[in-house]
């Protein structure tokens, strides 16, 4: 294993400092609070990454949020559930768990616009929270049986003699292999394997009478395959590990990772039996990840931007108010635009979404829990948000006309750098 995946060793020119630790927390979570940053710096990078992967033993804020979950499920209100997810991202300590759940939500993109059942959507997201850092095979098996996914990709109408290919196609194209690693025949045969995989009484139900039990040939293998067999066959393809490794790299590290790095990470994924947590641990402590050219190399998604500002600057957040703002910025949780999810990176920014970002930043800046103005305030906020102090020219510019604390914070949040991860 190399190509940049070897563990990073800090040097004098690239120390384990605030910038490096903030970079790790921005990518592996939604940004570090001051105490979290200090704890990370008191440890080695590898230990800090380990903590992010395993999470804390105790997370009282998350427990509080879990306590209201049954009430929200009963209410079956989509926006209330969205607010709850945002509140988790802000307050839960196991930030990588929240971040990987968001990743899988974009990967297995399913929209409430068609599913229509907020509870189903919420339970699907629960699968990502519960299994997101576990084995991909188990996550895939759970999602394939998820009522929201079945409805989203029309597998309820996939029956013997009248197969519906939607799910099988997206399984190969978007969930496991990517374009070019399967053929049309594989799709139609896989669709037959998933016949009868439906929903009954809000649960996954295998309808024997609707299932095509005959032999199918999928990706060169022939047998009386059922859905689970197709999943096994897909996971056994070399392309699967590379496809997933590429997606993880583009989300957590770099918009255009080198092919050799993708292959190396694919090897890690394969060797760990598709253990996502362990694979991410390799990536997040790697030399490539901490390379200066990788830092601030991704455009923040609306969620990363808003939640990151709240966590790093210490904003008194109102999750319910953020939901419509995120929607306007182009990221409507529980409603990705299509089966491919959100394209991300530079696609997040256009004239309309930029304006909404700046306006949202204004609202956040006015709710700082500990507002600070002047040089001291600027230093504190810039180190929290950007992980560094500003250069003299920028400092002068931002401090001109002696801005109030909210204006200062807003100025920082409007900097292009504040929108980069």
């Amino acid at each position: 294993m190399s190509a940049g995946l070897e563990a990073w060793v800090p040097t004098r020119s690239q120390p384990w400092d605030e910038d490096a630790a903030a970079h790790l927390w921005r990518r592996a979570g939604f940004g570090a609070t001051r105490p979290q940053l200090e704890r990370a710096l008191a440890d080695t990078p590898a230990a800090a990454v380990r903590d992010l992967v395993t999470g804390p033993a105790d997370d009282p804020a998350c427990v509080e949020l879990e306590s209201i979950y049954p009430v929200l499920l009963a209410q079956a209100n989509a926006d209330a559930l969205r607010s709850w997810l945002v509140a988790r991202m802000i307050r839960c300590e196991h930030q990588l768990r929240e971040k990987i759940a968001l990743f899988w939500h974009g990967h297995f993109a399913t929209s409430i616009a068609k599913v229509r059942e907020p509870v189903w959507m919420s339970r699907q997201y629960g699968i990502f929270l519960e299994r997101g850092l576990g084995r991909f095979a188990e996550l895939l098996a759970a999602i394939t049986r998820d009522p929201a996914m079945i409805r989203w990709l029309d597998n309820e109408t996939n029956r013997k003699g009248q197969p519906n290919e939607n799910f099988a196609r997206e399984l190969f194209e978007l969930f496991t292999l990517g374009v070019g690693h399967y053929g049309e025949h594989d799709v139609s045969e896989a669709a037959r394997a998933f016949t009868g995989w439906t929903v009954l009484a809000d649960r996954f139900h295998f309808s024997v009478s609707s299932h095509d039990a005959g032999d199918k040939t999928v990706l060169g293998q022939t047998g009386p395959w059922s859905g689970d067999d197709v999943l096994r066959i897909a996971l056994g393809q070399a392309a699967c590990a590379e496809f997933l490794a590429g997606k993880l790299l583009r989300f957590f590290a770099h918009p255009d990772p080198p092919p050799e790095l993708t292959r190396a990470l694919a090897d890690v994924l394969r060797d760990s039996d598709y253990d996502v947590g362990r694979t991410l641990e390799h990536l997040l402590r790697s030399r490539f990840f901490f390379d200066l050219r990788v830092r601030r190399g991704l455009v923040k998604s609306p969620v990363e931007y808003a939640v990151g500002a709240i966590r790093t600057l210490g904003v008194r957040a109102e999750p319910a108010e953020l939901v419509p703002a995120l929607r306007e910025m182009g990221q409507d949780l529980l409603a990705p635009p299509n089966v491919a999810g959100w394209p991300g990176h530079t696609e997040w920014i256009n004239t309309a979404t930029w304006l909404t970002r700046v306006n949202t930043a204004r609202g956040l800046a006015e709710r700082l829990a500990h507002p600070a103005s002047g040089e001291a305030g600027l230093e504190r906020h810039s180190r929290a948000l950007l992980g560094r102090e500003l250069d003299a020219r920028l400092r002068t510019e931002l401090l001109r006309d002696e801005p109030l604390a909210a204006d200062l914070a807003h100025g920082l949040l409007a900097l292009p750098e504040a929108h980069l991860n």
Binding site: S83, D202, P319, A320
Partner: protein, 572 residues
């Protein structure tokens, strides 16, 4: 001869009253104000509130104690400390010394738009005002200047910088932002503001103006108010009635407030009054008149009642005049669909002419017994419309109800949502049609501690006496059937009324404590502890509210809205 002492007595009393009347602070303010506020005996009202059960509960409530230690609470404590240091009085004493009798303040047009001049007159004991002026002088660095020396019968006029001018005459202080206004007050205005005919007319029609009275001249805002459009939809038009047309054209607005004992409780009464120009013919047809008695007495079970005296047929006929253009297409669609749903009943030719009297909505708390209940737990509500020829219309309306449920089910099934099961029963000789959701699946209930929210709704329909009833649950229909009888007499000749029963509202809120806490955590970003404290405060205060009534009444040439809130000890 014996009449002479009586006449003399009467004369003395009149002179005494006249002398006293000229001496009231309000009499000092000259006419021409655009806004006016008068407070009478506010300190007494404050003491009454403080001594009430609610007033005794509040200072010791955990939420109030938590606020006291918060940053905002700290700022308030510092301010109180500063005032105490400067005046030697706590907040209550300060209030008593400032507004124990009467205080009046008025705004007058300034030299530039948006910069009004103010003038205030207050009867204040002791040297409180002087001390407050001194604080202002120190904080804002005002220089005190003696402007007009005292002369026989006239007080001296002083100024602080060019910001505050004033004089003291006995225990009446007059302060203002404009020297000319202050000197007018000193000379004694020929036409005091309190004798403005508009203000006198308003006071005569505001019974609840004992504690506070406010007047606002709306002429300066006429252009902006003229832009207020018609109600956006038929619901808003029904609710607002003639006020939608009258309020934007009103030349002035008066408000009155009183806090007074009512048996063992306290009653807070607020009123708003506007003069009304002659209503348009269409508004007159649709909205004029007063409520008729409603032959349903729910007694202690009633949570709330909204009653509107409306001619729905006239409103429909004149909808183009009374509703905004954007709200009309929806009505056209409704008219078409109504015929489809009711098997051909014509909305305009058959249904609307059958409606008589008032539009009423009543609500009661839903009771779930020992079984599972949904969360949130909504009250159940029923719409009541009095109809002519109920026996003839009942079957056709039943068909409409069943067809509507069928269409709803078709739509829900297409979207994979749970359908409703139709049913009917007979209760005390009345047929009740209803639709309910089937029991949730075990999978749906996983992780839930309550029924899903949709179980609050089991649409129901019946014709009870002369009333068409459309309800959110059959339970309330049965309650209405049981409560049907001789109507209690209408005590007030009002056009519209909303009444809430405090204890039932408090119980409803209590039943929804968990959803309210969850909502607070997500809306305000509070921790669970903070949310529990905030919601606990709301629920605890709600228990002290006996009830509230909001009503709209048309007087001769005026429209008045009255809000009455009863405060008392919580019911057991």
């Amino acid at each position: 001869m014996r009449a002479i002492p009586a006449c003399l007595t009467l004369l003395c009393l009149t002179l005494g009253f006249a002398a006293r009347a000229a001496d009231t602070p309000a009499e000092r303010l000259p006419g021409g104000a655009t806004a006016y506020l008068e407070l009478d005996d506010l300190a007494a009202a404050y003491e009454q509130l403080r001594a009430s059960p609610l007033g005794e509960m509040l200072p010791n409530h955990p939420a109030v104690e938590a606020f006291a230690t918060s940053p905002d609470g700290l700022k308030l404590r510092i301010l109180r400390g500063m005032l105490y240091g400067a005046t030697g009085q706590d907040a209550g004493s300060l209030l008593r010394s400032l507004v124990s009798d009467q205080a009046a303040v008025a705004l007058y047009p300034g030299s530039r738009p948006g910069t009004p001049r103010w003038l205030a007159a207050v009867r204040a004991r002791g040297d409180t005002i002087e001390r407050l002026l001194l604080i202002g002088a120190i904080v804002f660095q005002w220089q005190r200047v003696d402007l007009v020396p005292a002369s026989e019968g006239r007080a001296a006029v002083f100024g602080y910088g060019d910001k505050v001018f004033g004089f003291r005459d006995g225990d009446v202080w007059v302060l203002g932002s404009d020297r000319e206004l202050v000197e007018q007050a000193l000379r004694g205005p020929r036409r005091p503001l309190s004798r403005d005919p508009r203000i006198r007319a308003a006071r005569a029609r505001l019974p609840s103006a004992h504690t506070g009275f406010a007047f606002l001249d709306l002429e300066p805002f006429a252009a902006r108010l003229a832009q207020v459009g018609k109600p956006p939809n038929i619901g808003a038009a029904l609710l607002l009635g003639a006020l939608a047309e009258q309020a934007p054209r009103a030349p002035w607005l008066a408000l009155g407030a009183a806090l007074e004992p009512a048996d063992a409780d306290l009653r807070l009464a607020l009123s708003a009054l506007i003069p009304t120009s002659r209503a348009s013919r269409t508004a007159g047809e649709a909205f004029a008149g007063t409520l008729e008695p409603l032959p349903f007495d729910l007694g202690d079970r009633a949570l709330g009642q909204l009653r509107l005296h409306r001619d729905v047929g006239a409103l429909w006929s004149h909808r183009d005049d009374l509703i905004a253009e954007a709200g009309i297409p929806g009505l056209v669609t409704f008219e078409t669909n109504f015929g489809v749903i009711t098997g051909g009943m014509n909305l305009v030719e058959e249904f609307l002419p059958s409606l008589v009297g008032d539009v009423s909505i009543v609500a009661t708390r839903a009771s779930w017994g020992q079984g599972p209940a949904p969360l949130p737990r909504y009250p159940q509500a029923a719409l009541l419309l009095r109809i002519r020829e109920p026996a003839e219309l009942a079957p056709r309306l039943a068909v409409g109800f069943q067809t509507l449920i069928g269409l709803v089910n078709a739509n829900r099934s297409q979207n994979g949502q749970k359908p409703l099961l139709l049913g009917s029963e007979t209760h005390d000789g009345v047929v009740v049609h209803s639709a309910r959701f089937l029991a949730p699946t075990p999978a749906e209930m996983e992780g839930l501690r309550a029924l899903p929210v949709r179980f609050n709704f089991s649409p129901a329909h019946a014709v009870v006496g002369e009333h068409l009833v459309l309800a959110t649950a059959p339970d309330i229909v049965r309650e209405l059937i049981d409560a049907h009888g001789t109507p209690p007499p209408e005590t007030d000749a009002v056009n519209a009324r909303l009444a809430l029963r405090g204890s039932e509202v408090a119980r409803t809120l209590e039943e929804n404590r968990e959803p309210l806490i969850a909502q607070n955590m997500l809306n305000e970003g509070n921790s669970r502890e903070e949310a529990e404290r905030a919601i606990g405060f709301v629920l605890d205060v709600a228990r002290y509210i006996r009830g509230a009534t909001l009503s709209h009444e048309s007087l001769d040439g005026m429209a008045r809205i009255d809000l009455q809130i009863g405060l008392g000890a919580p019911e057991p």
